[in-house]
């Protein structure tokens, strides 16, 4: 395609409402024919100002606020927050509660990875794989619902421990589901590494070298698929991860296939850890008392969310409302790196590369670039667009 002369290149707005993206984010992809020449991202569509709202709520209420930052990994946000506040308050959480927290975190990692795997297969146009992965994911959702009473925001965490306990019926259900999922994951790993048509869409696509990954600041499985040794559960074990160590999964190829393989192999780690916890679950009570006013001070709490390192900075001024909570989600780092990665690829690969990073958004924003009359590009904000729509219909229906 070495056409000389000015090719008609235009900006393809992917998002904020787009079938490829389950949550609103807005990519401005400039295309020359089918090749991407430039890409920028605009976030903020689901920004609810949680960091501001938390400053006017008590420590107990802000737990549920922070839990709703992300719909898929609500438990890890609550856990990071609780670990930080307990560190500030100098409270020792009973070992049984820590073990249950790790168990639910691993269950959440399984359901998050299976969800991502299905959506990525759907992006590639392999709907059958999407349907099967989401069917198997239901097993984990049923476990979480049986254990905590809610499929998504399970709210297992509470400041100072956990609310729910594991009895034998839960244990039997977990063991049975894990064995079924283990067998299915072997099958999916085989599909991802063997299926000729699927490999056409993943092998050698969206390659990110190790140095690129480090410079662009990617975190989590996406970075580990490019051989970056960065895993909080291994390097800085929190909660009960020191008693139930996890092995880091690395891959050197750095392409989309590697990202699939890393996440699926991580599932095996999660199964192993869960079964280990079930064997040696320490007994003891579930919670300890924690004062309503937390001592003044600052702390940093880092945990490994399914998508990468989740960083919490918590500052307290001694009152019963937090002074400042900064939650830096892993997706913001991955998003910045993927945008730079898109240049040079085909438009058809863009959804796959975006999905490859597993964007879990409850981040953000609204901008439509309408190419009116092929010359001038005009910027609409959400209200302006709504207003424009209303006027249009009045003019035409009158």
């Amino acid at each position: 395609m070495s056409e000389v002369g000015k090719r008609e290149s235009f900006t393809v707005p992917i998002g904020p409402q787009h079938p490829a993206l389950k949550e609103p984010e807005h990519f401005l992809i400039s295309v020359d024919g089918e090749i991407v020449t430039d890409a920028t991202v605009r976030l903020g569509y689901a920004h609810r100002g949680i960091e501001k709202a938390v400053e006017s709520r008590t420590w107990v209420q802000s737990l549920y606020m922070l839990e709703r930052i992300c719909g898929i990994c609500s438990h890890i946000h609550a856990m990071a927050y609780c670990l930080g506040v307990e560190q500030l308050a100098g409270v020792e959480v009973p070992p049984r509660a820590q073990a249950i927290r790790v168990l639910v975190a691993e269950l959440e990692r399984i359901h998050s990875h299976l969800l991502w795997f299905g959506v990525a297969a759907h992006e590639a146009g392999f709907d059958t794989l999407f349907m099967y992965t989401w069917r198997d994911r239901e097993k984990v959702m049923d476990l979480l619902e049986g254990f905590s009473g809610n499929r998504v925001n399970y709210s297992v965490n509470v400041l100072g421990g956990v609310k729910f306990d594991i009895d034998d019926t839960q244990e039997i259900a977990i063991r049975e589901a894990i064995s079924f999922l283990e067998e299915r994951t072997h099958h999916y790993l085989d599909v991802v590494t063997q299926d000729a048509m699927f490999l056409q869409r993943t092998r050698g696509i969206g390659v990110m070298t190790r140095s690129q990954a480090e410079v662009l600041g990617t975190v989590g499985p996406t970075a580990r698929a490019s051989n970056v040794y960065r895993e909080i559960r291994v390097e800085a074990p929190y909660a009960a991860y020191d008693k139930y160590p996890v092995k880091i999964i690395l891959d050197s190829r750095g392409d989309l296939e590697a990202r699939f393989v890393v996440r699926l192999t991580e599932l095996f780690e999660s199964y192993r850890v869960i079964l280990e916890i079930l064997e040696t679950l320490p007994d003891g009570d579930l919670t300890t008392r924690i004062p309503r006013r937390i001592k003044a001070g600052e702390t940093v709490s880092r945990v490994e969310a399914p998508r990468g390192e989740l960083f919490y900075f918590i500052k307290s001024n001694g009152s019963d409302t937090p002074e400042r909570i900064r939650a830096r989600t892993p997706t913001i780092c991955n998003m910045m790196s993927v945008v730079k990665l898109l240049v040079g690829h085909q438009l058809a690969d863009v959804p796959m590369i975006l999905a490859g990073v597993d964007p879990c958004f409850s981040c953000n924003d609204r901008m439509v670039v309408l190419n009116r009359g092929r010359k001038m590009e005009q910027l609409f904000t959400w209200e302006a667009l709504r207003q424009y729509g209303i006027d249009y219909y009045q003019r035409h229906s009158a």
Binding site: P13, G125, D127, Y132, M197, R201, A348, P351, R372, G373
Partner: protein
């Protein structure tokens, strides 16, 4: 020419509008679309849509308001879906799709039928190019590139049986294929015909022109209401006609309506199986692969026929 009496006109009108022609064909088209979606659902371990879902969709779409975008040639925007459906419906006259001999036929109607079938895709491409919306522009370019890549091999694959039957009139070809199962003698031709049909109708895995996750609905992004309904109907009817054509040519002709129905359904099962089994390929992959292997396969098939014909005579 014997005098065309009123009854002839009436008969052909009924044939055109009611029985093997218009309404019945639309009905069968939607029925096949339902079977397609139900089979796919069952293959994906889902319950799948209820029997009246396609009809409900079409009625809903017809009831919906037709929005004609501003920067678009309104006459073309409204006219294209009508031409597409009309083209496909006229192709039905020459195809024995309900197991009965075709209504009309003239020497060389095979070429006309195949052109009419591809008229649908051409209208789709023009409809996409007609608007300003990026997604439909992308969809239009992809639809037309895929059309060129899949049109020639599909035509050659269908000419195989015609060549063996010694005529280009569907009616006579069916007469010849009645006894012979050409799938055995011309296997490559059959494969190319089936994959060509999948490519022409943009059924996944070759649905790059309307890849939902990249360009929303491809060329149809701007369409809503009546236009979309007509295009959907056209697709359904084209599916039925394509299946009937291949079944009639390669699976031992039109024995009895019931047996023919079984053959087309078996072919549909194969196509849905392929749909469920594979990932969507990028447009450059589908076109690139097909130009090399598809055309090669059908030429090898032709070579086989010529040599076989030469030896026989």
């Amino acid at each position: 020419m014997e005098s065309t009496t009123i009854s002839d006109i009436l008969l052909s009108l009924i044939a055109l509008l009611i029985f093997p022609g218009g309404l019945f064909l639309l009905f069968v088209g939607l029925a096949y679309e339902w079977i397609d979606r139900k089979l796919l659902a069952r293959m994906q371990n889902r319950v799948g849509p209820r029997w009246f879902q396609p009809w409900a969709d079409i009625i809903k779409l017809l009831a919906k308001e037709e929005v004609v975008p501003d920067a678009v040639d309104a006459r073309l925007f409204i006219g294209l879906p009508i031409i597409a459906l009309a083209g496909v419906l006229t192709a039905a006259i020459y195809i024995p799709f309900p197991g009965l001999p075709p209504v009309g036929s003239f020497p060389g109607d095979l070429i006309v039928t195949i052109f009419l079938l591809s008229l649908l895709t051409i209208c789709l491409g023009l409809a996409g190019a007609n608007t300003l919306d990026r997604f439909s522009l992308m969809g239009a370019t992809r639809a037309l590139t895929q059309l060129f890549a899949y049109e020639a091999p599909f035509l050659l694959a269908l000419l195989g049986p015609a060549f063996v039957a010694g005529s280009w009139e569907i009616n006579e070809i069916i007469g010849y294929t009645d006894g012979h199962w050409l799938i055995i003698t011309q296997p490559f031709g059959f494969i190319v015909a089936v994959i060509g049909l999948i490519g022409k109708l943009e059924i996944p895995p070759l649905d790059a022109p309307e890849a939902e996750t990249e360009i929303v609905a491809g060329a149809l992004t701007e369409y809503s209401g009546r236009g979309l309904a007509l295009f959907r109907l056209g697709k359904g009817v084209a599916l039925v006609l394509g299946l009937a054509l291949i079944a009639a040519f390669y699976l031992g002709g039109v024995a009895t309506p019931l047996l023919f129905l079984a053959k087309t359904l078996a072919l549909l099962l194969v196509i849905v199986g392929i749909h469920a089994l594979f990932t969507r390929l990028r447009i450059d992959q589908t076109v690139g692969l097909w130009w090399r292997y598809g055309t090669l396969l059908v030429l090898v098939q032709w070579l086989g026929i010529i040599i076989w014909q030469g030896v026989m005579i």
